[in-house]
């Protein structure tokens, strides 16, 4: 079983079409990985699906970096 970090990074790669080597924990989805507003919505939906959880909009807005997403998933699943 992969760790949360690995699973989050895999989804980020798939959704944003970036290479694994480009994805650091500190990477910002918008500034570093080139996500637009629709990408971030899709990313959150993919995370919800992968981790079988629901991320409320007000929480989703705060997920700016890979680490933010990992922290959120760890705390809520």
């Amino acid at each position: 079983m992969s760790t949360v970090e690995e699973r989050v990074k895999k989804i980020v790669c798939e959704q944003l079409g970036v290479k694994e080597s480009e994805v650091q924990n500190t990477s910002s989805f918008v500034e570093d990985l080139g996500a637009d507003s629709l990408d971030t919505v899709e990313l959150v939906m993919a995370l919800e699906e992968e981790f079988e959880t629901e991320i409320p909009d007000e929480e989703a807005e705060k997920l700016a970096s890979v680490q933010d997403a990992i922290d959120y998933i760890v705390a809520h699943t």
Binding site: D36, L38, E42, M45
Partner: protein, 247 residues
Amino acid sequence: MSLEGKTALVTGATRGIGKAIARALADQGATVVGTATSAAGAESISADLKAMDAKGFGIVMNVADPDSIEAGLKEVNEKAGVPVILVNNAGITRDNLLMRLKDDDWSSVIETNLSSVYRTSKAVLRGMAKARWGRVINISSVVAGMGNPGQANYCAAKAGVEGFTRSLAKEMSNRGITANCVAPGFIDTDMTRKLDDKQREAMMEVIPAGRLGEPEEVAAVVAFLASEAAGYVTGETIHVNGGMYMG
């Protein structure tokens, strides 16, 4: 055939324009799932597609009921694959002059003709975004632009659909998803057969083509918008009305 391997969902496909659209898309090779409000309607869709040796079937779905849409989409995804073509055709009329219009006439037309479009579109967008390809085609009406006495509810819903479609087009364009409307004029269907002789006579006077349209003439435009060739057409309303209204 151009739509081979793609799944299309057509609401209100039992008769009239919806039936012609289901056939036209099946003709292009799409797997077509048509919705009906009754089991008998769903069976007739299945039989009709089978008779033309096409892939696809009918399902029961009430577009005014969110739970029914969710259940219907689940069935489509499981049996036919994720739809990348959505045709929102289902619609009702509850005509009356505004001074006599009941709250229920208003809300049921808005629910069935407008809110349903929001719900079905939202339900299929994820799959289209993943596929990086999608076609949302909403059936509007000539009266959305020109207005019609006795149809304030219907005109409001259809004009709403056109505005909705333009927003959707802007939101999803960079995912290869287009959203367009087809606005039929007076087409020879059960909906127009309900009109009385006086209304029909008045209608003929304002149609330069001098005849009603055929459902197939609407379906042909839908088939074009669903095609690969229409990939750069989005946010548009195409009128199919024999010249009675040109926007």
